[in-house]
Amino acid sequence: MKSIRFFLLSRLLGGATLVLAAAGAAVYVAVARSLQAGLDRDLAARVESLASVVFQTREQVDFEFSDQLMPEYGGEEGGPATPHPAYFEIEFADGTLLERSNSLAGADLITPDEVTATPSYWTAPLPDGRDGRYVAQRIEVHHVFPEEGPDRPTAARLVLVVAQGREELVALERMLLAQCVGACILLAGLIAALSWLAVERGLEPARRLAARLDAIRVDDLPAQLEVGELPAELAPVADKIDALIGRVQTALSRERRTTADIAHELRTPVSELLTVSEVALRDGNDARAGRIALAKVRDVAWRMGRSLSTLLKLARLEMGAERIDRESVDLGGIVREFLRSLSAAARERGIKVESDVGLGDRVAGDPEVLRIVVSNLLSNAIHYSARDGVVRCSFESPNGSWRLVIENEAGDLEPEDLRSLSEPFWRKDRARTDSDRSGLGLALSRALAEKTGMELAFELENRVFRAVLSSDADDGAF
């Protein structure tokens, strides 16, 4: 669609033109038929007039015609010719000629093969070459003498054929056609002008909306569009745009916060790199100190690299550029594997780990994704659980769906913190209490879960924190 204006105007004008053309044609046909019916009535009247001057006696059938009364049939023989003459011919049923108009000058008038008492009409050229209209009818002689008694003869049957020119009718039809076409063109023009005005007026709120949208700057998004009253058709659009602006604002705020967080998170390791290297350089002769500094630089660089990889993975997920596989995965095996690898950390903090997730608890999913998510959840649970606390893992798969629950004592986590848990770099304690934790694990886990059709939810109940990884029946357990 090039434009709403073009669409509306083309459809309105096209439709109106079609309607007008149909209406004009209907009017034309009706009036033309009416005119022709009038001509036919005229011809029928002529037949009746001619029939009325035929008389029959026992001896003969006589035609008492007066040229003066009906000069259109040619007047007296040898008299002046009528410019637009009419024609008639009267024959007996056996084809014997009774009379013909002087205008025929002895020529025959076309007579159809079969003539009935009902008049039949047709159009054909006249003897003088003009376009003509004909009528043929079989009649019985009206005036039979004697009118009564046994001597009254049987009324003779005659065939009357009358013809006259159609020039007046054709002229009227042409005038009618011209008027119909002219009226249609005029009305189409009027409709076009009115449609243009109506469309322009109808589109004015859309233009107002467009101008308002055009004035919006990304760095100064309004809470609402504020475009005044809108028609019912555009009001939902404005509402949707308001909602979209809200979502854009949220996304932008998150983006800015994430950018600021990334910058902030990079400042400390960059400071570490700078300070370690500068301090080492100030004492360049101390080889041992230099080696220690290099090892520190390597550790910091590794940590930064891990954060960057996670950030890149998050970005690729949001762009939809991360490939996700789907297969039967031994979730129980993954849980056991990470519980084993985290057992030293758990022991160090005096944490007891209880798990009812068994080998062979299989689910449908991406094995790499499940490994990352499970590893992050278990690592977080052990890291943030209170010392000497308990971390519990449980798995259930009712009706084809499945739920993996990892819970630990909540520490100082509050219910309002749950919303922020999966934001990049969010920490309950804004300081970096552990440089090995980037603050990206839960953000990555939730993004990965959503991307692969799972859900990662967080719950807090009676000071127990639960991370619930689940999938519904459609993506259920194997």
Binding site: T268, V270, S271, E278, A431, T433
Partner: protein, 224 residues
């Protein structure tokens, strides 16, 4: 000069400690705000290097906790927060200087030295006591035009005495400012260090550092 570093990043904390110690500072470190506040309250630090985002108690909390302390150290806030309002908030809370991460170690060192001078109300970077000249920026000393070969600890002792020239400095004060909490010297470490200083001044400078028996030492021009 004694400095306390309160920073949660172990790598940064230890690097700063190493760098400052090599410059002759006595350095103590703390990894969280609560420990940092406890150290700062109970020891006479010249400079407190304080990160704002700290576990257990943030930097603002440490500054608030030091508000009532007599003879509180000058505070250099070291943070990743770089917004103007963050700086204003930090300075209003009692910080004396503000350094945004990442930073060059040289600049950090210069700011620590500047805070030390401010603490002793020393406007000039060169302190002169008779024929003794101590350049606290270059961290060099000379007597009668001859450069003195001093270790970092010896220089720190001389600088501390020079900044407090004309005043009697107690032995405990020297211990507090030249040695960190975990490196308490032996009972005669200060006396030994003074002896070495005197020896390096040579016979003409033996009287620059005078012993006040039972009290401590005073650095002054014997000819004045």
């Amino acid at each position: 000069m004694r400095v306390l570093i309160v920073e949660d990043s172990e790598t940064l904390r230890e690097s700063l400690r190493t760098g400052l110690a090599r410059e002759g500072f006595a350095v103590d470190v703390a990894g969280d705000g609560r420990a940092g506040l406890s150290y700062a309250r109970n020891n006479p630090y010249d400079v407190l290097v304080l990160d704002l985002m700290l576990p257990l108690l943030d930097g603002m909390g440490v500054l608030a906790g030091l508000r009532e302390k007599q003879d509180r150290p000058h505070v250099l806030v070291l943070t990743a927060r770089d917004r103007i309002e963050d700086r204003v908030q930090g300075l209003d809370a009692g910080a004396d200087d503000y350094l945004v991460k990442p930073f060059a170690f040289e600049e950090f060192l210069a700011r620590v030295r500047a805070l030390v001078r401010r603490r002793y109300e020393e406007r000039s970077s060169v302190v002169t006591v008779g024929e003794l000249v101590v350049d606290v920026v270059a961290r060099r000393a000379s007597f009668r035009g001859n450069a003195l070969e001093l270790t970092a600890r010896e220089y720190a002792l001389l600088e501390y005495l020079a900044l407090r020239r004309g005043h009697t400095v107690l032995r405990e004060e020297i211990e507090d400012h030249i040695y960190g909490v975990n490196k308490l010297p032996s009972s005669n470490a200060v006396d030994s260090a003074i002896c070495i200083l005197r020896a390096k001044f040579g016979p003409a400078g033996r009287d620059l550092v005078r012993t006040k028996r039972g009290q401590g030492y005073v650095l002054e021009d014997p000819a004045a």
